[in-house]
């Protein structure tokens, strides 16, 4: 298959982690967070990871929405930790959102980009990151106060700590090999049902506090 050349500036090592282990290892206890997951692999795997938790809004379309949904949610719920899981393709589609989010600097928001370097849903074409584009550098340039790259298992512990304890707005680039996301295939991500479930769960949680 013909390919574009990798960027000469591409310096990150080849990805070695399998997302099916690395994503759960990074997030650990998803019930502690309000979560938004972008299409497509991240929404399926977060849905599986959380056992279809109502505290997760998963996107099956509207590519590019997840990071900015996370911003609106984080500003609306400043006492909860908000986690956005997005893919490299989704983040690239609205990469300016990194600049918008950094200017607001909500301390309760963490964005995890599960970067497999490919458009996994559409025939596994190389994405820009697979050819060497650096989303971690873009996030740092946008002004994210905390940027962490997970290349190997050794980098996961610091990623886990950031997700859990925060310490400010954070961007975590989780670099994984190409390959399928965990997909239990149970859920159809009907957007208005996702919304109703999420809001009802949040209201119940608030009442219980």
């Amino acid at each position: 298959m013909a390919k574009l050349n990798k960027l000469q500036t591409a310096t990150l090592p080849d990805a070695v982690l399998d997302r099916r282990q690395a994503v759960p290892a990074l997030i650990e206890n998803p019930q502690d967070f309000l979560m938004v997951a972008g299409l497509a692999g991240t929404a399926w795997e977060m849905s599986a990871l959380t056992n279809e938790s109502p505290g997760l809004f998963g996107l099956g379309g509207a590519m590019g929405a997840a990071p900015m949904m996370g911003l609106g949610l984080a500003l609306a719920q400043p006492r909860r930790r908000v986690l956005v899981a997005t893919g490299d393709g989704e983040l690239l589609m609205n990469v300016g959102a990194l600049a918008t989010i950094a200017l607001q600097n909500p301390p309760n928001l963490t964005i995890i980009c599960v970067d497999n370097g490919h458009y996994g849903e559409t025939g596994n074409q190389d994405s820009h990151t697979g050819l060497g584009v650096r989303l971690d550098v873009m996030a740092a340039g946008a002004g994210f106060p905390v940027v962490h790259v997970v290349n190997t298992e050794a980098d996961l512990a610091e990623g886990r700590r950031l997700v859990r304890e925060g310490g400010g707005l954070a961007f975590i680039l989780l670099r994984v090999k190409e390959g399928p996301a965990t997909h239990l295939g149970k859920k159809n991500l009907v957007p208005h049902i996702e919304r109703d479930r999420f809001k009802a769960a949040l209201a119940q949680g608030a009442a219980a506090r």
Binding site: L34, F57, M68, L103, H192
Partner: protein, 170 residues
């Protein structure tokens, strides 16, 4: 009602209805709202790099129980089209105020294609369109839109027309 008066009244109206997230790509037609939101410690004033970010942000605000408004120029409507799948399919309340170009008295030919397409494009994506043609229209139109969006869960745009805000002078 002079221009500053309806713009000031509009900010008060949005605040009285608990709008706490103001997101926008700057436009002269929204100058007063943007300035007031920047000066108001009780709201988040969020400049966007492109208008579609605002559609997603409005949805996220609703998930968290907050009310947001998206301020944009007519050209920005075109940047939002696919993202309106989210508010439409998710039945998220959407309140957007669109300052119009490319219509009544426009002097810049570049503004016409998108300006003339605003209403059909919004309607094609399920957004209800209200128009404010003169200062006395603004508060009733936006009051109606607030009810339709936040009480009835609709997606509503109020067009602040060029007859209302005046054609930009070059």
């Amino acid at each position: 009602m002079a221009e500053d008066e309806w713009q000031e009244a509009l900010y008060r109206l949005l605040r009285e209805h608990n709008v706490t997230q103001f997101c926008y790509v700057p436009d002269a037609g929204h100058k007063v709202l943007i300035d007031r939101s920047l000066a108001d410690p009780d709201v988040h004033s969020v400049p966007l790099t492109t208008e579609e970010e605002g559609v997603a942000m409005v949805a996220g605000a609703d998930l968290g129980g907050a009310r947001a408004v998206l301020l944009m120029q007519s050209s920005g409507v075109g940047n939002c089209i696919n993202m309106l799948s989210l508010t439409n399919g998710g039945r998220f309340p959407l309140l957007t105020l669109v300052s119009m170009r490319g219509e009544f008295g426009e002097g810049n030919p570049w503004q016409f294609p998108m300006g003339q397409a605003v209403e059909p494009v919004l309607k094609a994506m399920g957004v209800i369109v209200l128009r404010a043609e003169q200062p006395s229209d603004v508060i009733p139109a936006v009051t109606a839109a607030i009810t339709m969006a936040f009480q009835s869960g609709q997606q509503v745009a109020v067009l602040l027309t060029q007859r209302l805000i005046g054609a930009k002078k070059f």
